[in-house]
């Protein structure tokens, strides 16, 4: 079967050379923007290439020609034109999703939105996680809002969502950076479009993405936290919330349609859901020690752009309700913000550990 060059794919040695140069230039700039040491992204890319090679070897050794597009996404690899060409040329490819080895008791709130059934219907047969040497190395921390976009606020407490999310993100970075590469999507009080945030995560080929937000609910008595992963919803409040958070995303209509088509094909959904469950459980376990009235409002799906357009397991945590007077006061306290950061860190570590242990279990 001949290879038909894709549009935009370099066909001459000169074009390939220029593509390599631009890849290097883009990496160099991304390291500058994300304030990572020089060569970090190149090393990550090389490590990921090696992991992909190992994955392919493992799959071929098992006598299967299954090249798992879902696994590529789960590993945080970008599906570039080369991969697309390989897919076109390979023929007979099969798509499988990675299922958790030991599903926890489900805490997921799945509104009767009609889409769950569609997703369930599409889910292919899972492959065993042990086949894939998964490991969490790079975590993207996304402090919601910033710069011109202050997010939500309650005037009597004088706090803006952008400042709270930044404070928690900095604390979270400090808790993670000894064990993970941590990439921040913003570096202070600056405006960063949602599109740029997802591009930072995707270009860094991150393994996990966590977006930090603070909730505002019309019911001032409502309190607690919510944890989201990507998906559709018919809940009118969640639609409104997603629309508000997605404002000025920087994506065109066509982009959005493509992204939604991609995410609703379900290939990354299970890992994001699993990750969200870890984060939600950890938020409850940690925060309930200092806030006896904390409420776990559930793990839910919603089409936030940062969840839909990222290529790795991603969650968005609304860590508290600033519209609730008590929680607004708690957010003003440094120890409480530290507790939130510790809870997020514990959720990330729990998910990372589960993956690592499931690999070891399979190896044994």
């Amino acid at each position: 079967m001949g290879i038909t060059p894709l549009r935009g794919w370099p066909v001459t040695p000169r074009q390939r050379l220029k593509q390599r140069l631009f890849e290097g230039l883009a990496e160099d700039n991304l390291e500058l923007i994300t304030n990572q040491p020089r060569g970090t992204i190149r090393r990550q890319r090389e490590a990921r290439s090696e992991r992909l090679r190992r994955l392919r070897r493992a799959l071929l050794a098992g006598g299967s020609l299954v090249v798992v597009a879902a696994v590529v996404l789960t590993l945080g690899l970008r599906t570039d034109a080369r991969a697309q060409r390989a897919t076109e040329d390979g023929g007979g490819l099969e798509v499988a999703a990675v299922a958790p080895a030991r599903p926890p008791a489900s805490r997921t709130v799945d509104p009767a939105d009609g889409l769950g059934a569609v997703i369930s219907g599409r889910q292919p047969q899972p492959i065993e996680r042990g086949v894939i040497p998964l490991e969490v190395r790079t975590v993207v921390v996304d402090p919601g809002h910033g710069g011109r976009d202050g997010g939500t606020h309650v005037p009597q407490h004088g706090m803006l969502e952008k400042d709270i999310t930044w404070d928690i993100a900095v604390r979270l970075r400090a808790l993670l950076e000894d064990d993970f590469e941590v990439v921040m999507t913003r570096h202070g009080d600056e405006t960063v479009e949602l599109r740029e945030r997802t591009e930072i995560a995707n270009t860094a080929a991150a393994d996990l993405f966590v977006s930090i937000h603070v909730n505002w609910l019309p019911d001032r008595e409502a309190r607690g936290f919510e944890t989201y992963f990507a998906g559709a919803t018919v809940d009118p409040f969640l639609k409104e919330l997603a629309a508000a958070e997605n404002r000025d995303s920087g994506f065109s209509v066509a982009d959005t349609r493509r992204l939604l088509d991609g995410i609703y094909s379900g290939v990354r959904l299970d890992e994001s859901r699993r990750f969200a469950e870890w984060v939600g459980a950890s938020l409850f376990d940690t925060l309930s020690t200092s806030n006896s009235q904390v409420v776990d409002r559930g793990v839910m799906r919603a089409p936030f752009v940062v969840l839909v357009a990222t290529e790795m397991p991603a969650v968005l945590a609304e860590v508290a309700c600033i519209s609730n007077d008590r929680e607004a006061r708690l957010l003003g306290l440094e120890p409480y913000r530290q507790s939130i950061a510790e809870a997020l860190s514990a959720g990330i570590r729990g998910y990372a550990r589960e993956i690592s242990e499931s690999n070891k279990g399979e190896d044994a």
């Binding site: 220029k18 923007i33 060569g39």
Partner: protein, 343 residues
């Protein structure tokens, strides 16, 4: 933004001595990298401007607080005024290039800015911050890489970009240059000026000459090798006008540049895989304002003789080679590679 709004791509070479801009509309401008603010209300009234740039700033320096915001190819640190100066300078360049007008009409401006090969991260961050509000998209690149890209010398070549503040080296190996492919020396045009200034002070006691004047002499008379003619200048010594011969001092100062540049060039070539070294030796490209120094190319060729020889070409348009390369990069850069800057 209206549908008819025009977009503009620009390449900028931010230099210690001169800064240049080339745009997709064909505009090319170069300014001396000086920014001056009137020292008081009187000076402001006389000059009729809030800020002056380039030669105009140097000419009126007695009435100005003059800043040369780059030193040895890098932004000076610790001074808010220098930060402000670099932003003013970039803004001035973009104004000259028509970028500000394009933005006023709702168009978007994307800029590739070249910085020294081994510029510190903090300096690149200064450039990023300075460009905020001036352009919509930004890519920062290594200056010699931009030169190589603009000349389409992408493989088995070496660019030696000799500016005022730094000499930047870059070997093109078919990849974006890493640290091992690049080198930056502070032996460059300014360094030659300092050598010449010191030599003149030592050999002509009582001479009173500013570094600006020394720089003008060097730019007019520099050479390496045999002197083309006797070089004399008029200068007051102890208040009396005098004609002095500075041929030997010019030669000595200029020739002091050769050894460190040759050594760095040979060291980088030695790091190239052996089968490609000859191709690189025969494809050495000299760029930057100081590359116009007569005899420098020949000196570097001689330095390669004992390693099998080589060829050194001086670019035709050394002042604009970096900005042209930046523009070429801007025209080819994928949309996703641009850093989107807040308005």
């Amino acid at each position: 933004m209206t549908d008819s709004a025009k977009h503009l791509l620009v390449g900028i070479d931010l230099g210690t001595s001169q800064s240049a801009i080339c745009t997709s509309e064909g505009t090319r401008c170069v300014v001396d990298s000086y920014v001056g603010w009137p020292v008081d209300a009187v000076a402001r009234k006389i000059l009729g401007k809030e800020v002056l740039f380039g030669a105009e700033a140097v000419d009126n320096r007695t009435m100005l607080e003059v800043h040369r915001p780059l030193e040895r190819g890098l932004l000076k640190e610790g001074s808010d005024k220098d930060q402000q100066a670099i932003r003013e300078l970039l803004g001035h360049l973009l104004e000259l290039g028509g970028a500000a007008e394009v933005r006023r009409k709702g168009g978007k401006v994307r800029a590739v800015v070249g910085v020294p090969a081994e510029a510190l991260r903090v300096n690149k961050q200064h450039v990023r911050h300075a460009m905020r509000g001036l352009v919509d998209g930004l890519i920062i690149t290594s200056e010699p890489f931009a030169v190589a890209y603009g000349l389409d010398a992408l493989l088995h070549s070496m660019v030696v970009d000799i500016g005022a503040g730094t000499t930047d080296f870059c070997v093109m190996k078919g990849r974006y240059p890493t640290e091992e492919d690049q080198r930056t020396l502070v032996n460059a045009g300014d360094w030659v000026d300092e050598q010449l200034h010191t030599l003149l002070g030592e050999r002509h006691p009582g001479i009173s000459v500013s570094i600006h004047t020394v720089r003008e002499w060097k730019e007019k008379h520099s050479f390496i090798g045999e002197p083309p003619k006797k070089i004399t200048v008029s200068i007051p010594i102890k208040g009396k006008p005098a004609e002095i011969d500075i041929t030997a001092e010019i030669r000595e100062a200029c020739e002091s540049l050769g050894p460190p540049v040759a050594e760095a060039m040979l060291d980088l070539i030695a790091g190239v895989e052996s089968e490609y070294q000859e191709r690189v030796r025969n494809n050495v490209i000299l760029a930057g304002g100081t590359s116009r120094m007569p005899g420098l190319g020949r000196y570097l060729e001689q330095a390669m003789d004992e390693y099998g020889g080589g060829k050194v070409k001086v670019v035709k348009d050394p002042v604009y080679a970096g900005a042209n390369g930046g523009l070429a990069l801007a025209q080819d850069a994928p949309k996703a590679d641009w850093e989107k800057l807040p308005g």
